[in-house]
């Protein structure tokens, strides 16, 4: 696989759930497609490990934030498609707000140091 040699960013604990929920906002997807989508939209900075993806998907399903059903994939084989539930949507909104607050706060703390560096 031709993969860019750029350094990857480790996923922060808990952010994978947020990314999955966000990805599903565009419509039902199977696990592989979710991983690829996150990878692509993050310009390959975020690499989703399969070993974390599926446990996360099943955890979210167990919590009722996403629902799964089997459907034909574009290739004609059976795939497990996940879609966002109403509760998932609400959870996404809440988690997103929390994330934005968090990232703004971290940004505020970090910015002065950045400015002093040069």
């Amino acid at each position: 696989m031709a993969r860019a040699a750029r350094s990857r960013v480790e996923l922060l604990q808990g952010t994978l759930d947020l990314l999955i929920l966000r990805t599903l906002l565009f419509g039902p997807r199977h696990g592989h497609a979710i991983a690829k989508h996150i990878q692509r939209t993050s310009e390959d900075l975020l690499q989703v490990e399969t070993g974390s993806l599926y446990p996360a998907l099943h955890r979210l399903e167990a919590q009722g934030w996403i629902a799964a059903s089997w459907a034909q994939s574009e290739k004609g084989t059976r795939a497990r498609y996940y879609r966002l539930t109403l509760r998932g949507r609400r959870q996404l909104a809440a988690a997103r707000a929390k994330w934005e607050t968090f990232s703004r706060a971290v940004g505020l703390v970090l910015r002065p140091a950045d400015e002093e560096a040069p």
Binding site: M1, P55, H58, E61, R78
Partner: protein, 872 residues
């Protein structure tokens, strides 16, 4: 949680979920491969890349399943299957482990069920914890009195403010005879106050129970029966209500059946029939203030406690009476059996501990050989907790297998223990029999878990603590590692506990031997006894009936002497105050002496002939002068230094009270009350001059087979009169046995369990040593190759065991001595530090240990060094 409640659906769902996850991951791989192909890789490389990308599929599968939160159960299932496979591979070990655990836990469960029935189980009544029972401590008695006059009940009942109710019941003295439709039957009849059922909160199951105010003397007599009696006597027929029976010349009508399970408040004597006391002893009867034969139970009023009730009752009665908890009812067995039961519980606990220690040791030895396997598992990513869990599961499988057998074993052991109960206490069996109720089952389950933790957790932690992964893989299995301290500790522990058990067994066996071997003033071999009750309607001709039967029995072949006494030897005694003519001692200061009424020949039949003067003759009857035979103690006490023959004394009260008797004979002392008390001064009187109880005890000395003789007695009695009742037709030896119930119980239980523990420990030591020899084969080979002698090799192994033995004895002996001192009042004829029994116990223990250690040591000595080194 509901998922867990339906195992089949849960299992089906789990299977489908597993398949789904697998399919989902399969799809993922497929996608990756296609991506690889699209990027220009060939199929094989694409597949490999995809797999690499994914990592361990099983781990992902497991983690994904874990998201659903039920995989612990599934993992447990896996562990159990794995443990089962491992245990099947070692069938002898597993079987031995399960059997020893089942015996240990079964014994503990059996003892617990007895303790539960006697001490813990609440009466099946309404809110039993509110019940209190009146007791009175007397300075001259160790145990408090539990019986009072009816007058005390009459005094307390209307006045007690701290109690919401107070009821009385007669103390149960075993079954009495009643008449149902002209047919004689026996039943335990209790006279109770009319509010008895109300105070206890026991409803009627059929019909009604009586309530206060109950019927008086002039009303139609009524009775309530227990549900058990209703079932056994009336086959649970509705017609029992309204049925009648006769008791003491009155006809009672059954008006109700009490709630099932309720058999009165006495654990020892479950009641069959309850009668309102006023119908038998009216309110004005003088018997109400004579004799303490009523038990008084109360129910605390809301907001009051026992202390307040005790104070109030003491003030009302004017004596220091008080209330004790009544929740568990009355039981004399409780007092009699408390200490032996505690001892048996202790013995059983030791055996269980030994079984656990032994198992821990064997598991430890087994795990040593699995170090490599465990190291591999750790290396491929199993966490320590995962390995510990696996090892614990193995223990759990063994414990559960043993625990599952425990109730069966317990029922058997309980039966064996209860078989010791003398026939006089047999009624209590209904309440004491092994009953697998919730509490007993819970105890067994708790025991299983505890035992499992005890023998599996320690080895698991020990073994896994040393698992560093790689280094363990490098060393060969069976590296020269000294046996761990844990293993030695377990062996020493077993020896310590065995020492305690065997010393207990030793002192009780000696006690039994001393009690049996002493000169008790009778010869028990060749002696048959029988309780003989002449026909009830023969009151004026009772003695003729008895003597007719005696003559027929004396004529039987092989019978040397047939005689009788009014109370049997070792069956108790009646005391009377006696006085001497010419001395004016106040009546209350006269000494109490045991009196026995006997037939001519009785003393000779018992093997205690007169040593001076003469025996009674049939001519010593009411028409002849009153005569007596005294024992040596009597003679020594009242006629010191004189010839007692011809001496005169009188009984202060009763028939012929005050009429002097002349001493015509002297016999040696013999034990009448029990085997522990020294013989007291006593005198004998001719039965013909005194008469006696409705039952006499025959004593028949015969040179023939006692069992054959026993079989002949009843037909003979029946041929004289079919209404003759013969009970307790047994060799006198058995009467002696019955008085030694507790000693025999403790001696036999501690011997049986002591030997069991010893064999467990010996087999355990043998196993550990044999295993050690096998592991150190190479070392032995090297030692021999460089010139060590076989006996030096044998000594090397033997020495290890000897050190363990010496340390075990050094710790065990003081423990054993502490225990024997605690039970010293149960011993007889020996001190708590009896050298003989302790010596025998230590000898047996040393011999068994040496034997167990010698066999592996000898095998070590015969190892062929060349072979041992070449094999490696």
């Amino acid at each position: 949680m509901t998922r867990l409640l339906n195992p089949r659906r849960w299992l089906a769902r789990r299977r489908s979920r597993e398949a789904e996850i697998r399919e989902e991951l399969e799809f993922h791989i497929q996608q990756e491969i296609e991506e690889g192909l699209a990027a220009g890789l060939n199929e094989a490389n694409a597949r490999r890349a995809a797999r690499r990308e994914l990592g361990s599929l099983t781990v992902i599968e497991e983690d994904t399943r874990a998201a659903w939160g039920w995989s612990w159960l599934e993992r447990l299932g896996q562990d159990v299957r794995y443990a089962g496979r491992l245990l099947r591979r070692r069938p002898v070990f597993s079987l031995a482990a399960v059997i020893t655990l089942a015996l240990g836990m079964g014994g503990a469960t059996a003892v617990f069920s007895l303790v539960h029935a006697l001490l813990l189980r609440h009466l099946p009544v309404d809110r039993p914890e509110q019940l209190v029972r009146l007791i009175e401590y007397r300075p001259d008695r160790a145990a408090p009195l539990e019986t009072f006059t009816v007058a005390t009940h009459d005094r307390l009942r209307p006045s007690m403010r701290t109690l919401s109710g107070l009821a009385g019941s007669t103390d149960s003295r075993g079954p009495t005879s009643i008449e149902i439709n002209g047919e004689r039957a026996t039943a335990v009849v209790q006279l109770v106050s009319d509010n008895y059922f109300e105070v206890l909160g026991v409803p009627a199951f059929k019909g009604r129970v009586f309530r206060a105010p109950g019927p008086g003397l002039n009303e139609e007599p009524i009775a309530v029966i227990s549900a058990d009696y209703w079932r056994s006597r009336y086959a649970a027929s509705p017609s029992a209500l309204g049925a009648r029976f006769r008791r003491g010349g009155r006809e009672f009508t059954i008006v109700g059946v009490a709630a099932p399970g309720f058999r009165g408040t006495d654990i020892d004597v479950p009641a069959d029939i309850w009668i309102p006391i006023e119908q038998v002893v009216p309110r004005t009867d003088e018997d109400r203030s004579r004799g303490r034969w009523m038990r008084i139970m109360g129910r605390l009023a809301p907001g009051t406690n026992r202390k307040q009730a005790s104070r109030e009752s003491a003030a009302l009665v004017g004596r220091p009476v008080e209330f004790a908890s009544g929740a568990v009812g009355y039981s004399t067995l409780r007092h009699r059996l408390a200490r032996p039961l505690a001892l048996v519980a202790f013995v059983v606990a030791l055996v269980l501990l030994i079984a656990c220690a032994n198992l821990a040791n064997l598991m430890l030895a087994g795990m040593k050989s699995r170090e490599r396997e465990l190291a591999v598992r750790t290396a491929i990513g199993a966490s320590r907790s995962r390995v510990v869990r696996q090892l614990l599961t193995e223990g759990l499988v063994l414990a559960v297998a043993g625990g599952a057998l425990a109730p069966g074993v317990a029922s058997w052991i309980s039966g064996a223990l209860l078989a010791f109960l003398p026939p006089g206490d047999a009624l209590a069996l209904a309440n004491l029999r092994f009953d697998l109720d919730g509490r007993v089952l819970g105890f067994a389950a708790l025991l299983t878990c505890g035992a499992c933790l005890l023998f599996a957790l320690a080895p698991a932690l020990r073994v896994t603590a040393g698992l560093g992964g790689a280094p363990d893989l490098r060393t060969r299995p069976g590296g020269e590692r000294a046996r761990s301290w844990a293993s030695r500790g377990a062996l020493v522990g077993q020896i310590v506990m065995c020492t305690a058990l065997l010393v207990i067994a030793g002192v009780f066996l000696r006690t039994l031997q001393n009690l049996r071997g002493q000169d008790a003033g009778y010869r028990e071999e060749g002696l048959l006894v029988a309780d003989v009750q002449p026909p009830a309607d023969s009151d004026d001709r009772r003695d003729q009936y008895i003597e007719a039967l005696l003559a027929r029995i004396a004529a039987l072949p092989g019978v040397a002497i047939a005689a009788f006494s009014h109370i049997g030897q070792l069956d108790g005694a009646i005391e009377f105050r006696i006085g001497f003519p010419g001395h004016d001692t106040p009546k209350d200061d006269l000494p109490l002496m045991i009196e026995q009424r006997i037939s001519p020949g009785f003393l000779q039949a018992m093997g205690n002939p007169v040593i001076a003067g003469r025996d009674f003759a049939w001519s010593d009857d009411v028409h002849a002068p009153l005569v007596a035979i005294v024992n040596e103690s009597f003679a020594r006490r009242f006629f010191p230094g004189q010839d007692p023959l011809g001496g005169r004394f009188y009984r202060a009260s009763g028939t012929f009270g005050g009429e002097p008797m002349t001493i015509v004979g002297v016999v040696r002392d013999s034990r009448w009350e029990n085997l522990r008390h020294d013989p007291s001064p006593m005198y004998y009187r001719p039965y013909r001059q005194m008469g006696g109880t409705p039952v006499v005890r025959f004593a028949i000395r015969s040179s023939g087979d006692l069992n054959v003789l026993a079989g002949q007695l009843r037909p003979i009695a029946r041929s004289i009169d079919p209404a003759f009742v013969l009970t307790n037709v047994v060799p006198f030896r058995e009467i002696v046995d019955r008085t030694l119930v507790i000693e025999r119980l403790v001696a036999q239980v501690s011997t049986a369990f002591g030997l069991l523990a010893l064999s467990i420990a010996a087999v355990g030591l043998y196993g550990v040593q044999a295993y050690s020899v096998a592991r150190r084969r190479r070392e032995i080979g090297v030692r021999m190759a460089v010139g060590a002698r076989p006996h030096a090799i044998a000594w090397m192994f033997l020495r290890e065991s000897l050190v363990l033995l010496v340390v075990g004895l050094a710790l065990g002996l003081p423990l054993a001595l502490v225990i024997t001192r605690l039970v010293s009042s149960m011993l007889f004829g020996l001190g708590p530090h009896d050298p003989a029994s302790i010596g025998v116990a230590l000898g047996v223990l040393t011999a068994a240990t040496l034997a167990a250690a010698w066999l592996p040591a000898r095998r070590a000595a015969t190892i062929d060094p060349i072979g041992a080194l070449r094999d490696d």
